[in-house]
Amino acid sequence: MDRYARQRLFGVFTRGATALVVGVMGLVVGVTILRGGRVLLADPAIAITPPGSRYMLEGTGGFLHAVLGSVLIVGPATVVSMTLAVSTALYLQSDYSSKRFSDVTNMFLNVLWATPPIVYGVFVLTIIIAIGARTSLVFGIVAIAIFQYPIMTRYTDEALRSAPDAVGEATYGLGATRFESAFMTIRAALPGIVAGIVMGFARGIGDAATVLFTAGRSTNMPAGPFEPATTLPVLIFDQAMSFNAEVRAHAYAASFVLIVAVLGLILTSKLLAGRYARFAPGGRHS
């Protein structure tokens, strides 16, 4: 085979690999939407039917409690995590800490980012046992917040880093304090930060391993902050492992809702990033 034939063959391989990856994605999204949509259309009531304690066995009951649980856990967790992530990322900027400190902290953030979510679940569970509490919504929030924190910090740190130096120089030149200057830098980096927050939210809402042991696998509506709750991924996991075929079918309806939510969030992140671009110096004005 001469070198040009080899070149063509390689080109075919790379195209094939990409087509395979994109095709698999189409398959996953397509199967979830078609199958889940069919189940949901056949019996729309399963979305809101209040579940009872025996719904796993009898195949009745819907997933509204899990949707509520997801929102009530991931929403507050995202707020907590965002506050911490933006603060950490700000501190890592050169105005506050040394290069060495931010390098070391970034290394730890990378390691936390790669830590398996189940470890966060186990970590929070040991805390629950140690203080004699029981699994509840609040601990679900704590676990998801810990899970999201390194993800969001990374995004925010990158966004702040890519904000133009001129913003800092101009604000210091006007006599601003570090905090006032940081505030303006955040404004300039807002597109990236918002994208990071939405991505963190999307990752948090899709994760099951952290909430599996911390929020409790409740089959009822979330009753209060110290009561057990469940989230959509946990519900899907439990239903998919059920022996009852009807319950297994319901898992597809719930996954339809989950995948639509995640796709919507990604779309939102792209749109918001475009929208907030007007805050960036030299950004597009709309």
């Binding site: 730890f108 936390l112 470890v119 099951a208």
Partner: protein, 312 residues
């Protein structure tokens, strides 16, 4: 003294005080947040180690890691089946996923352009954000029958479809977009002069990619693969749905098995009733953390090593 200027000075002094107060208070808060990452890391390690001690007091580390007998009811904690299962899954899915991921990354970074490139890379982003429980669910109706009804009979094995191979296939799909986007990043970071000078001395595009670009981006791609390794190693939900949960040494890739994370998921229900189980399962968490973190630090080390060796 003129009273009015006095008041004015007071006011402006007050304003500066307030601004400095905000500055000082925010500095404290940000400093605390800055140390949070390190603090969290330390808290996790210390908690896991402390909670694992009861198990290690009864068993030696070697005994726990090499015994194949897992029976919490009899106080037998051998992690070998789960370790073997985890290694099987990790190696198989990386062997299937990594070559495809690198080829696709080369396509996105070097061949695709304009609209097509934006389209394909946003598809990859979406794939990376799909919750793994959905991959598991789709695999139940697509991959499980494929392995059970076609693949296993084709090689003359009787299998139900759930097992190590199925998990590896699905994990290869889950981890591919992650490796692709990191590899694309390091390929795109290369300066154009590299491509130009290689093409300028008469190399074909493929020769440029193979001998120059993949080499120059090698450290980045290698550490992307090590990070992918860590991802598969710690994957929980997909194996829990598809591996079958049998705590025995697997005899083929089609047999059911157990991975370290699924051990935690499947056995935590027995937590309250059996004394050492809690400690044993937290020890599993510790093993996960140590291995994944070792991969990470390894990735960083290898990256800087290769960067020095493959300088351009």
């Amino acid at each position: 003294m003129d009273r009015s200027t006095d008041v004015g000075q007071d006011q402006s002094a007050g304003r500066i005080d307030r601004r400095l107060l905000v500055e000082r208070a925010s500095h404290r808060w940000l400093q605390a947040a800055g140390y949070l990452a390190v603090g969290l890391f330390a808290a996790i390690v210390l908690t896991l180690v402390y909670e694992s001690l009861p198990l290690l007091a009864e068993y030696s580390l070697v005994q726990a890691l090499t015994s194949a007998n897992w029976d919490p009811a009899q106080n037998e904690f051998g992690f070998l089946p789960a370790i073997v299962g985890t290694v099987y899954v990790t190696v198989l899915s990386m062997a299937m996923g990594a070559p495809i991921a690198i080829l696709a990354a080369v396509y996105i970074a070097e061949y695709a352009d304009g609209r097509l490139k934006t389209l394909v890379s946003s598809f990859i982003d979406v794939l990376a954000a799909i919750p793994s429980v959905i991959f598991g669910l789709v695999a139940l109706i697509v991959v499980v029958p494929f392995v059970g009804d076609y693949l296993a009979p084709a090689v003359g094995v009787d299998a139900t479809g759930v097992g190590i191979l199925t998990v590896s296939l699905v994990m290869a799909i889950v981890v591919t977009p992650f490796i692709i986007s990191l590899s694309v990043e390091s390929l795109e970071a290369l300066p154009d002069e590299l491509r130009e000078s290689s093409l300028g001395v008469g190399a074909t595009k493929w020769e440029t990619i193979r001998s120059v670009l993949l080499r120059a981006a090698g450290p980045g791609i290698f550490s992307a693969m090590l990070l992918g390794f860590g991802r598969v190693f710690g994957a929980t939900i997909v194996p829990a749905m598809l591996i079958g949960g049998q705590t025995q040494l697997p005899d083929s890739v089609f047999s059911t098995g157990q991975t370290l994370p699924t051990l935690i998921v499947n056995d935590f229900g027995e937590l309250m009733s059996l004394p050492l189980t809690q400690s044993a399962l937290i020890f599993v968490g510790l093993v996960l953390v140590v291995v994944v973190w070792a991969f990470n630090f390894g990735a960083m080390l290898v990256r800087s090593r290769l960067q020095r060796r493959w300088q351009y």
